[in-house]
C-alpha cells in the first residue's frame, strides 16, 4: 500500500509541473500588453518600461517561468495589481469558503442521490423510479448558476430564514463550537448561508449519483450471489443494503471524486451569483479587472486542490479495492 501511495505521489510531480506551465502560458501568451492595459492610453514609454521591469516582463519567457515557479513553490504567488495585497493571502482567505461550499454540495448530492438511486433500482419501473430518472435527466441538463438564480428569486426572496448573499462564519468552525461549547447558533448561521449555493452546485452531481447508483445497483442485484443470499432466506433489506449496496457503491465513489472537480468549477460561477467570498469569485473579479497575478494564482490553486482531491480518491479507492494496488 505504501508503495502504491509513493508511486502515485511521484506521478503527481510531472502533472503539477505541467499544470504550472499551462497556467503560466495561459496568462503570458494572452494577446495585448498587460502593463499597457493597466496603465492606460496616456502612459509614457518610460512608465511602461519601469513597470515591465518591476514585474520582470522584460526577461525571457523561460526565466520568467522559473522565477514564478520558484516563488510559487515558496508560497509566493505575487502581488495583486489592483489591490496591492499578496495573492497568497487573498487566496488563503478564500480557499476555506470555496472548499466548504464544495464539500457541503457533495454531501447534499450524496445524501440525496444514493438513497434515491437505491430506491429507484429496488422498485424498478415504479413511480419513484420514473421520478428519479426524470430528476436525473433534468438535473444534469440544468446549469448550476441558473438554478442558483432561480433559488434566489423564488426561495431566498420569499423565505426570510435563507439569506440572498454572502457567507457568515465557517460551518466547520460552527461544528467545533457545537462540540466544544454545545452552542448551535454559529453552525446554524453558517448553514443558513451555505444551503442555497450548495444546492445549486450539488443538484447536477446529485443527478449523476442517482443515475449511477441506480444502474450500478441494477447490475449487482442481477448477480448470482444476490440470488443466493435471497435463497438463504435473508431479509430483503439486508440483501439490498449489505450485499448489493457495498458492491454497487465502488463506481459511485469514483464518480464522486471525479465530480469534485466539477464542483470546484461550478463554484466559480455560483460564487458570483451568491456573492460567496471564495476563490471563484476572486478569479472572476480578477478577470474583469485584468489582475493577472490573481488569475494565475487562483487557477493554479484550484488545479492543485483538484489534483490533491483526485490523489486522495485514488488512494482511498485502493484501500477499498486491493486489486488496484497490484496493478
Amino acid at each position: 500500500m505504501i508503495r502504491y501511495i509513493v508511486r502515485r505521489l511521484v506521478q503527481m510531480i510531472p502533472l503539477l509541473l505541467g499544470i504550472s506551465i499551462l497556467v503560466f502560458l495561459l496568462v503570458h501568451l494572452s494577446p495585448g500588453d498587460p502593463v499597457r492595459m493597466l496603465l492606460g492610453e496616456e502612459a509614457t514609454e518610460e512608465d511602461v518600461e519601469r513597470l515591465n521591469a518591476i514585474y520582470g516582463f522584460d526577461l525571457p519567457l523561460h526565466i520568467q517561468y522559473f522565477r514564478w515557479l520558484s516563488n510559487a513553490l515558496r508560497g509566493n504567488l505575487g502581488v495583486s495589481i489592483r489591490q496591492g495585497i499578496s495573492v497568497t493571502t487573498l487566496l488563503s482567505e478564500r480557499l476555506g469558503a470555496t472548499l466548504e461550499l464544495a464539500v457541503v454540495s457533495v454531501l447534499i448530492a450524496v445524501a440525496l442521490g444514493i438513497p434515491l438511486g437505491i430506491i429507484a433500482a429496488v422498485r424498478r419501473g415504479s413511480l419513484v423510479d420514473y421520478f428519479s430518472m426524470i430528476l436525473a435527466l433534468v438535473g444534469v441538463s440544468t446549469p448550476g448558476f441558473w438554478l442558483g438564480l432561480m433559488l434566489l428569486t423564488h426561495v431566498a426572496l420569499k423565505v426570510d430564514f435563507l439569506p440572498m448573499f454572502g457567507r457568515d462564519g465557517s460551518i466547520f468552525g460552527g461544528l467545533w463550537i457545537l462540540i466544544t461549547q454545545l452552542r448551535v447558533d454559529v453552525l446554524l448561521e453558517g448553514l443558513r448561508h451555505v444551503l442555497l449555493p450548495a444546492v445549486s452546485i450539488g443538484t447536477g452531481m446529485m443527478a449523476i449519483i442517482t443515475r449511477l447508483t441506480r444502474s450500478s445497483m441494477l447490475e449487482v442485484l442481477g448477480k448470482d450471489y444476490i440470488r443466493t443470499a435471497k435463497a438463504k432466506g435473508l431479509n430483503n433489506q439486508v440483501v439490498v443494503l449489505k450485499h448489493a449496496l457495498r458492491n454497487a457503491l465502488l463506481p459511485v465513489i469514483t464518480i464522486i471524486g471525479i465530480q469534485f472537480g466539477a464542483m470546484l468549477g461550478g463554484a466559480v460561477v455560483t460564487e458570483t451569483v451568491f456573492a460567496w467570498p471564495g476563490v471563484g469569485r476572486l478569479i472572476v473579479n480578477a478577470i474583469r479587472q485584468r489582475d493577472f497575478p490573481i488569475i494565475q494564482g487562483g487557477v493554479l490553486m484550484m488545479a492543485v486542490v483538484f489534483a490533491l482531491v483526485n490523489l486522495a480518491v485514488d488512494i482511498s479507492y485502493a484501500l477499498v479495492n486491493p486489486r488496484i494496488r497490484y496493478d
Binding site: 499544470i19 494572452s30 435527466l137 441538463s141 432561480m150 478569479i283 487557477v299 488545479a303
Partner: protein, 276 residues
C-alpha cells in the same frame, strides 16, 4: 432506424434538437417582434401569455423576451456545432493516432490530455477565454479544447481494441498504408461511441457557452445569447424574475434534448445498457 424510433430517449431528444435547429434557422420569421427594438416605456412588462402582446414579457430595455430567446438560439446552436466539430476533428485524429501508433506518441498525447483534465473544465474554459479575450470565437475554441480529452479517450480505446481484429491484419497484409487502414478501415467501425460522445458534448457546449456569456466572457453585445440575457436579467431578479426564468428554461430544454439524444444513441449502440 427501427431501433431508433423505438427508443423513447432518442425520439424525444431528436424532436427537441429538431425544434432548436428549426428555431435557429427561421428565427427572424418566427420571432414575433424585433429582438433589438428598445422601448423604455414598455420595460419590465411581465409575461402576458399567448394572447398578450409580449408573450414572455419584456426586459429592462423593453425588448421582447420571447423574440430574444428565439434569436439567441442561433448562438447556442452555432457554438454547439462549431465547438463540438473542432473537438471532434482534433479529438478523433489524436485519439486514433494514440491508439494505432502506441508507444511514445500515445504516451505524449495522453499526458497532454491528462493535463487538460487536471483542471475543472469550466475553470479552464474561463481561463482560456480570459487569456484570449472575450468573444464567441474564443469561447468556442475554449469549449472545444476542454472537450477534446473525452473524444480522444473514446476514440483511442475503440482503436486499441479494433487494431487487433483480423480485418486489420488482412489490410496490413494487402500492403495498405497505415493512414489508410486507420482512417478508412478502423475509424469507420467506431463511429457509434464517437457519435454518442459528440452528441453529449453538444449539450455541454450549450451550458458552458451560457456560463461564459453569463460571466461576460462569451458573446458580446449586440449579439443575443441566452447566457447574456441571464446576466442582464440578474440585475432585476427582484422586480422582473421572468427575464432570468425563460432564457434559463431554454438552456435546460436544449441541453436536455442533446442529453436525451446522446443517451438514446448509446442505448441503441450498446443494448446491454438499455434502461439503465
Amino acid at each position: 432506424m427501427k431501433q431508433f424510433l423505438r427508443n423513447k430517449s432518442a425520439v424525444t431528444g431528436s424532436i427537441i434538437v429538431g425544434i432548436l435547429i428549426i428555431t435557429a434557422i427561421f428565427a427572424d420569421a418566427i420571432a414575433p417582434k424585433d429582438p433589438y427594438q428598445m422601448d423604455i416605456w414598455e420595460s419590465f412588462r411581465p409575461p402576458e401569455g399567448l394572447r398578450g402582446e409580449y408573450i414572455l414579457g419584456t426586459d429592462d430595455m423593453g425588448r421582447d423576451v420571447l423574440s430574444r430567446i428565439i434569436v439567441g438560439s442561433r448562438i447556442s446552436l452555432l457554438v454547439a456545432i462549431v465547438a463540438t466539430g473542432v473537438s471532434l476533428v482534433f479529438g478523433v485524429t489524436l485519439g486514433a493516432i494514440a491508439g494505432y501508433v502506441g508507444g511514445i506518441t500515445d504516451a505524449i498525447i495522453m499526458r497532454i490530455m491528462d493535463l487538460i483534465l487536471a483542471f475543472p473544465s469550466i475553470l479552464l474554459a474561463i481561463a482560456i477565454v480570459a487569456s484570449l479575450g472575450p468573444g464567441v470565437v474564443n469561447a468556442m475554441l475554449a469549449i472545444a479544447i476542454v472537450r477534446i480529452p473525452a473524444m480522444v479517450r473514446v476514440t483511442r480505446s475503440m482503436v486499441l481494441s479494433l487494431r487487433e481484429e483480423d480485418f486489420v491484419a488482412a489490410a496490413q497484409a494487402l500492403g495498405l498504408s497505415h493512414a489508410r487502414i486507420l482512417f478508412r478501415h478502423i475509424l469507420v467501425n467506431c463511429y457509434a461511441p464517437i457519435l454518442v460522445v459528440a452528441t453529449l458534448n453538444m449539450g455541454t457546449a450549450i451550458t458552458v457557452e451560457a456560463t461564459l456569456s453569463f460571466l461576460g466572457l462569451g458573446a458580446q453585445p449586440p449579439i443575443i445569447s441566452w447566457g447574456r440575457m441571464l446576466a442582464l436579467g440578474r440585475e432585476a431578479i427582484r422586480t422582473a424574475p421572468h427575464i432570468t426564468l425563460f432564457p434559463g428554461l431554454a438552456i435546460v430544454f436544449t441541453t436536455l434534448g442533446f442529453n436525451l439524444l446522446g443517451d438514446g444513441l448509446r442505448d441503441i449502440s450498446d443494448p446491454q445498457l438499455r434502461g439503465r
